[in-house]
């Protein structure tokens, strides 16, 4: 579990421990706002277990992935902010 892997968050490369969820990686990278709500408010994870859908991000071009349910993989590209509906 000491392996480090590289991911890109909004184009910024950072390293995380293998096995880290995308949600944990974003919070650790100082990115508490994952997306904008329908009225433009910043939102981040709430439930941490796939129920609330507040942590949706775009992962490798696929929008609306739940960051708390996805484990980081080497070379993964994560985009926060508004995704196309």
């Amino acid at each position: 579990m000491s392996d480090r892997i590289e991911i890109a968050i909004d184009g910024r490369v950072c390293t995380v421990a293998a096995g880290t969820s995308v949600a944990a990686a974003l919070l650790d990278a100082g990115q508490p706002a994952f997306r904008a709500s329908v009225q433009g408010e910043p939102r981040g994870p709430l439930c941490g277990m796939g129920i609330c859908f507040e942590c949706r991000v775009t992962i490798n071009g696929v929008p609306h992935r739940r960051a708390c349910m996805v484990t980081c993989e080497h070379g993964m590209s994560i985009a926060t902010g508004a995704a196309p509906a």
């Binding site: 579990m1 995380v16 421990a17 096995g19 880290t20 969820s21 949600a23 944990a24 990686a25 919070l27 650790d28 508490p32 706002a33 994952f34 709500s37 329908v38 009225q39 408010e41 910043p42 939102r43 981040g44 994870p45 709430l46 439930c47 941490g48 277990m49 796939g50 129920i51 609330c52 859908f53 507040e54 949706r56 609306h64 708390c68 349910m69 484990t71």
Partner: protein
């Protein structure tokens, strides 16, 4: 292309109850498949990256499950169900499972009761914080406030402190008398009292208060402070992370879609864990929040009963452990003040940004949906439905297929094979 599978037993959920059900049935010779959304077996309570970090009993359960011959489908969501059939979407594509029997072990989620500021980033659930720490969140040096209700508060405080967080406050909304009555009710389970004492020590330095709750959270880009109250006094606490939840709510949506009867917010089951629908069984927190020991017993019973094996020998142990459900419900029921924290501007439905002031208490959940879209977003009311049920007395609506969001192409493939 839709994969198909035919099994004796399909289990939904890979937490303690689901694993126990699958293990018992597979060890008895049944063909068993377990469907679970997470990447690893264990559910929320045994969530892990490194199995060595789990308690010995949990490691033994996971090892026994793996040796049982049951098939584990991880990263798999049930999007639709009928008795005898589950429509599943996995990372590898859609899958139809035909099963002689189904065991629902869908667990529980947290009850989030809205308060001003609860939508700020870095305001998480209590189990939510624990899940994120277990999935790698670094909390070292972070100031953490934990507030809510139930037996989860202290273990999560201990987890956070054990990972280097500065746990500033732990607030249990229930009054001291109720918490003491709960502890007294544990006399038959001394191991749980020892656990509680251990968690208290592990979270040392944190101030533990009963009869206190969060009044509001404030910050700009993320939470910066919370105001705690006991109804008379206020205590403002600067913090980096807030973990707030008012207990647990059984996940009954899949059971409801199957037509199972629901009582007191949980899937109703008979003494052998049968739901009201033939060949559909349920076990664990989705039948009432009672903790891990009860979930394992119920899971074993459901797994055996589902393949036609006798379970009478387990009734007595289950009934003893089952006393926990009533104990928890009585001790940690949310106080009235918790239900009145949202002001007119507080977002209640986070998916659609519907504020408390937009809702007319004279409506029902259905009318609120039509008028404001409350409960119609991605979570399908799983968060606001449980809150509004308690705040304004609207019975939570039902969740419709797809029970979990899925690609249209996957749904089309599943329905094309629906015959």
């Amino acid at each position: 292309m839709t994969d198909r599978r035919e099994v004796g037993l399909a289990v939904v959920g890979a937490g303690p109850a689901g694993l126990a059900a699958a293990t018992a049935a597979a060890e008895a010779g049944a063909a068993v498949v377990v469907v679970d959304q997470a990447s690893h077996a264990g559910g929320q309570i045994w969530r892990h990256r490194d199995r060595n970090a789990l308690p010995e009993a949990a490691r033994a359960r996971l090892a026994r499950f793996e040796a049982s011959g049951a098939e584990h489908l991880s990263g798999a969501a049930v999007v639709d169900a009928a008795p005898g059939r589950l429509s599943v979407v996995t990372d590898r594509g859609p899958l139809l499972i035909d099963a002689h029997a189904i065991v629902l072990a869908t667990g529980a989620r947290e009850l989030f009761l809205p308060f001003p500021g609860w939508t700020l980033p870095n305001v998480l659930g209590v189990g939510g914080l624990q899940a994120l720490i277990k999935s790698g969140l670094n909390v070292a040096g972070k100031r953490v406030v934990i507030a809510g209700s139930g037996p989860l508060l202290l273990p999560v405080a201990a987890t956070a402190a054990g990972h280097g967080a500065e746990v500033v406050a732990v607030c249990e909304q229930a009054p001291l008398a109720r918490v003491a009555a709960f502890a007294a009710g544990l006399w038959r389970a001394p191991a749980k009292l020892a656990d509680a004492a251990r968690y208290r020590r592990a979270a040392r330095g944190a101030r533990f208060r009963t009869g206190w709750w969060i009044a509001r959270a404030e910050g700009s880009a993320a939470v910066e402070r919370v105001t705690l109250t006991d109804g008379r006094r206020e205590w403002r606490v600067p913090c980096d992370l807030v973990a707030a939840a008012a207990g647990l709510v059984p996940n009954v949506e899949l059971g409801a879609a199957l037509g199972c009867r629901i009582a007191d917010g949980a899937l109703a089951v008979d003494r052998d864990q049968r739901t009201s629908v033939p060949a559909v069984f349920a076990a664990g927190e989705c039948t009432g929040v009672g903790g891990e020991d009860l979930a394992i017993l119920e899971g074993e019973m459901a797994g055996l009963a589902a393949i036609g094996r006798p379970v009478g020998a387990l009734h007595a142990a289950r009934d003893r452990a089952g006393a926990m459900v009533a104990l928890i419900a009585r001790a940690f029921a949310p106080r009235a003040e918790l239900l009145r924290r949202a002001d007119a501007d507080t977002v209640v439905c986070r998916c659609e940004d519907v504020r408390m002031g937009q809702l007319d208490p004279a409506w029902g959940a259905r009318q609120a949906k039509l008028a404001t879209r409350a409960g119609m977003g991605a979570c399908q009311g799983r968060v606001c439905g449980a809150a509004l049920e308690r705040m304004v007395g609207w019975p939570a609506g039902t969740v419709r297929p797809p029970l979990s969001p899925a690609r249209v192409s996957d749904l089309a493939a599943l329905s094309g094979n629906g015959g």
